[in-house]
Every structure is written in C-alpha cells, then in structure tokens.
C-alpha cells in the first residue's frame, strides 16, 4: 500500500477556514439587513442568496469559470492586478466556495437576528448604546446560536463541495486538490483503499460536526431574546 497523501486534507481544512472567515464578514451585514429591512427588494435578494441551494454545482461552477476566467470580467482584472489567473488557484477556490456556501451562512444568521427582533435593540438604544455597541453587546450574544450554525454549516458544506471545485479549481496538488477531488481521483485510478480512508474520514467528521451543532442548539436557548 502506497503512503497516504494528507495534502488534500489540509488543503480542504484551509479552504473551509478561510471561506468561513470571509463568509462571516460578508454574510453578517447582509443577514442583518435582510432581517430588519422593510423594502420589497428583500424577496429578490433572498432568492439570489438561496440560488446555490438549488443550482447544480456544475451550473454554478460553469458561470464562475466564465466570470473568474482570464477572459471574464473579474478574471481579467485579477490577471492585470497579480499576473496570475484566478481560476485553478486557491484564491479562485475561496471565491467559489464563498458563493457556493453563502446561503448556509446567511440563512441561520438572518433567522437568529429575526428571533432577536427589534425590541432588545430599542431597549439598548434608549440606554445610550450606539448601533455598533448594540450589535456587539446585545444582538450578537443573543444570536450566538445563529453564528454557531453559520460557522459549522459553512465549514462543513465547503469541505463537501465537489462540482464547483472541479469546474473552477481543477486538480492541482497543494493548490486546488481538496479531499473530495482526491477521493474522485483515487476512485478513477482504482485506489479504493485511499478512497475508503478519505471518504470514511470525511463521513465521520461531517457526522461529528452535525451532531455537535444539533446538541449545541439544544443547550443554547434563543427562543426569547428578552423577557
């Protein structure tokens, strides 16, 4: 039996970690806005955010390939800026993963902010807290469960992506060859042992993560944001 290459595992973890961090930065303000806005545009934005849930990863990956490729709007700009292509690079994978996992971060956060509601925010304002202080010291702690869901689901979903990575990232060891791609490659080359090890590892990890989320959700009460 040849030595197992753990490179794809570390790459997957790196990709998922960076993706989650980017997701939190982008998804939090959007989820906040969706939770509290009263404009009709809200439904449109919600639909767009949910698209990655229903689109086949190949369709999403195809469009990303077009846009991020050297001939695409963003891709060309990136080439001018860095002299490297965005497609088939780690950065390109991060962008693709953020888009692919976007609803998994936005939806739990939006739900949590809606559960918090305006009432405690108004109370904080009348006590002299600025909107940022209110967000940091009232809304975020009360929406903790939403954050945990967003982090865990965003992380796990990124680990599990395959189609988008294949379209946008290809199969470059150390750069775009993540676990799911490695498994595919092992199966193609009939290296079932390696495929088994990686697959079982991913299966166990995913189960543990989801178990942790559901167990935690029971422990953190969020039904009432105030009494």
């Amino acid at each position: 039996m040849e030595g197992l290459d753990l490179g794809p595992v570390w790459l997957s973890i790196q990709l998922a970690t960076v993706t989650v961090l980017v997701l939190l930065v982008i998804a939090t303000p959007l989820a906040w806005w969706l939770a509290f806005t009263r404009t009709r545009a809200r439904a449109v934005i919600e639909a767009v955010v949910a698209l990655p849930l229903v689109l086949p990863p190949t369709v999403l990956g195809f469009y990303l390939l077009i846009v991020l490729g050297p001939a695409g709007a963003i891709g060309r700009f990136w080439v001018q800026l860095t002299d490297t292509t965005l497609t088939f690079s780690f950065t390109g994978l991060v962008i693709a993963s953020v888009i692919y996992s976007f609803p998994f971060a936005v939806q739990p956060l939006q739900g949590a902010f809606e559960a918090v509601g305006r009432a405690p925010l108004e109370a904080a304002a009348t006590l002299g807290a600025t909107p940022m202080q209110t967000f940091a010291r009232v809304a975020s702690p009360l929406a903790l469960r939403g954050y945990i869901s967003a982090i865990v689901l965003g992380f796990a979903h990124t680990l599990g992506e395959f189609g988008v990575v294949l379209m946008v990232g290809g199969n470059i060891p150390g750069s775009t060859k993540v676990v799911s791609i490695a498994v595919f490659e092992h199966v193609e080359t009939i290296s079932y042992t390696q495929a088994h090890i990686l697959s079982a590892g991913l299966l166990a990890f995913s189960f543990v993560v989801l178990l942790a989320v559901y167990a935690l959700n029971r422990r953190i009460p969020i039904g009432t944001a105030y009494v």
């Binding site: 009432a119 405690p120 108004e122 109370a123 904080a124 304002a125 009348t126 006590l127 002299g128 807290a129 600025t130 909107p131 202080q133 209110t134 010291r137 009232v138 702690p141 009360l142 903790l144 009460p221 009432t224 944001a225 105030y226 009494v227």
Partner: protein, 377 residues
C-alpha cells in the same frame, strides 16, 4: 393619526401622564419622544434642545451671506437618534437582556448611559448628578436579585429591574409605557409605590403612559388626554377629569372625579377627611393628620338628594351646588357638583333628574357611597 403634532415636550411638571383609550396613540407618542419612530414627522423639543425637526429652513451660513435669489430653502430634517437622547424608557414588556444577569443589565445602562446632548440651543450637558448603582439598588430593593437571570424573575421583579436599568442610564426624563399593565393587582400595588417615589427620590420628571384612570390620579399631577392620535386636552389632573366636555373621550373609562382633602383625624378605624364644606369618613388611611390626600370618586358612586337624608347607610354627605347638568348620555344624566372650589361628578338616571326637579344652580346634598382611591400629595 399624527401624535407628532403634539407639543408633549411642553409638559415640564415632575409627573405627567399621557392618557387615552387603546389605539389613541399614547405609546407612539412616547416612542416618538424617545426617537424610536424615525419615520415620524414633526418636532420634538426637550428643555430647549431640538431632538427632531423637519421643516423648511435655510442653513445659517447661507442666510448671512446671501442675496435673495441665492437664498436656498431646503427641506431639511434633523433627527437625534435614540441613543443620543437623554431619555430613560421603561417598556411595557420590560425588555431585559436575557443573556445578562440582573446586575449585567444594570451595568449595561451604567456603561452606556449618557448625559444629555442635542441640536442647537441646548447646553449639551446634563446636570451631572449621576444616579448611582447603590442608590438604585436600594431604592428598588434589588440586592437579592442581582445574581439572578431575568428569565427567573417574577413580573413585578422584572419591572423593578427595568425601572432601575432605565434610571442608571442617567436620563433627564423617564418615559414609562404602561409598566403595570402586565401585572396582577397585588403586583401593581407593589410597583406603584416604587414609581410614586421616583420623581422626588431621583429628581427626575416622569412621563407616564396609561389607560388606567386610577394610575393617572395616583401617579401624576398633570395629564395629557389623547384621543385618536390628537390631544383632546391637557392640564391638571383634577381639572381635566372634571371637565364635562371631555366625558365622551373618557367614556370607555370609568367616569369620575379627583378631589383633594386633608386628613383631620383617625377614629375607630376610620379616617376623617376635611373638605371646605364638610367631612368625609373613609376606612383608615395611612397618613398623618394634616396631610393632603387626593381622592378619586367614581361618578356612579355619587348620588344626589334635595334634602339631607336621615336613616341612611351612606354616611358621607356633603352640601353641593349643581353647576352643570349634561343630558347627552342615554338614560343617564351626568351632574357636575360644586363642593367649595372643587367639583364632583355624579351619574344619576334621567328619571331621577326629572322626579327631583333638579336644575343648574340648585343646592343639593351629594351622597358619596365610596372613595375608591387615595394618593398622597
């Protein structure tokens, strides 16, 4: 509904109530004052400081330099956000933060609370008196609650914490939105005594929203009567409640009047209250002789006799003058009775009115069946 037209900020007395039926706009008015209704139009001025204003105005720097055609009038809007207004807000549903302990809730206010600021003419600084933690904890008896979680408190305890939290933000006016409405009678009584003591103890004016006339009489000396989003009347509590033309606005509420009396003496478990024209006996009131009390008498508990009755269980009979008879009511007639300088409302049937041949200006005897409310002055 446009409560924003109200000049409620003019109520400067220490205790004022905003009163009206459900849906009259009481809570909305309070929220506008606090800056919680950014979409509301109108002007809010507190103690000379403009908190909110939208009207045509020309910026000062253009006014001084400009020739007439370059004088630009713009639709400008000034809105001081809620967190910069020096108000304390006690919500009907308390809105304590569940992720913090009681002490954490109080410290939140202490940490973020501010002195007053505002646009324009105001001084921009508060009194600097600084309401302290220990003072609030003592006044509202919160010592034993500090370590508790809000979710584990009773309704009355929550409301006490909410009041304490609002005070610790160091507001210049305390806005209370029906803080008693979710409590049962026993709890109400408990909280009322705390609220009653606030203006004097913390030197802070209280603006109190309620649809309960007894709370108005007990907790305020001035009132604003709201009806369908507009001010129906404002003034002293006794004066407003005695005004016959306002009765339709008060219709859904128990009609009655507020009168003042002085404690004369206590005897056989009864307290004797002195009026200009006589004495009332009521079950013992906890007040020293000489103390002025405010009484509330429901109109249906006042009867009228043309001669001083004898052989009657009702002991409280005061000579009175019929000042006004209002026949608008259905089978009833509403009488406004003058007792010295004060007025008492009575509700009798129109049949009784005709049988007795009552007329305005006539001397009668007011039979007071019960005095339902007492408040200290």
């Amino acid at each position: 509904m446009s409560p924003s037209k109200s000049r409620a900020s003019r109520c400067r007395s220490a205790r004022a109530s905003i009163f009206g039926a459900s849906g009259a706009g009481k809570t909305t008015l309070l929220r506008i004052i606090a800056g919680l209704e950014p979409a509301a139009r109108g002007k809010v001025v507190f103690d000379g400081q403009v908190w909110q204003e939208d009207r045509d105005w020309t910026p000062a720097h253009e006014r001084s330099t400009a020739s007439s055609e370059s004088l630009r009038t713009a639709r400008k809007r000034r809105f001081l956000p809620a967190h910069e207004r020096a108000v304390g807000f006690v919500f009907q549903d308390t809105r304590l933060f569940t992720h913090l302990s009681v002490e954490g809730n109080l410290r939140f206010a202490l940490r973020h609370g501010r002195f007053a600021s505002g646009f324009g003419t105001g001084t921009g600084t508060g009194t600097g008196s600084g309401i302290g933690m220990s003072e609030v904890v003592a006044a509202l008896e919160l010592e034993n609650l500090l370590a508790r979680r809000p979710a584990s408190l009773s309704g009355g305890e929550r409301q006490r914490v909410a009041i304490g939290r609002a005070l610790l933000a160091n507001p210049r006016v305390l806005l209370m939105d029906e803080p008693l409405s979710s409590l049962d009678t026993a709890r109400k009584r408990e909280i009322v005594s705390y609220i009653e003591a606030l203006p004097a103890r913390f030197a802070i004016p209280v603006l109190y929203v309620t649809h309960d006339i007894d709370e108005v009489a007990r907790l305020s000396n001035r009132m604003l009567l709201l009806s369908a989003g507009r001010i129906a009347a404002q003034g002293g509590v006794g004066e407003i409640l005695g005004r016959i033309d306002l009765w339709p606005s008060l219709e859904r509420l128990e009609a009655g009047s507020v009168i003042e009396a002085r404690v004369e003496r206590h005897e056989n478990g009864m307290t004797h209250l002195a009026f200009e024209t006589g004495t009332l006996q009521v079950p013992a009131v906890d007040a020293v002789p000489g103390k002025a009390l405010r009484l509330r008498v429901h109109a249906r508990d006042v009867a009228v006799a043309t001669e001083r009755p004898r052989q009657l269980s009702i002991r409280n009979i005061l000579p009175a003058t019929i000042e006004k008879i209002d026949l608008d009511a259905t089978v009833h007639a509403e009488l406004l009775l003058g007792i010295g300088a004060q007025t008492l409302r009575a509700r009798i049937t129109r049949n009784a009115l005709e049988d007795l041949g009552l007329a305005e200006g006539q001397q009668v005897h007011a039979l007071i069946k019960s005095v339902l409310f007492e408040g200290r002055l």
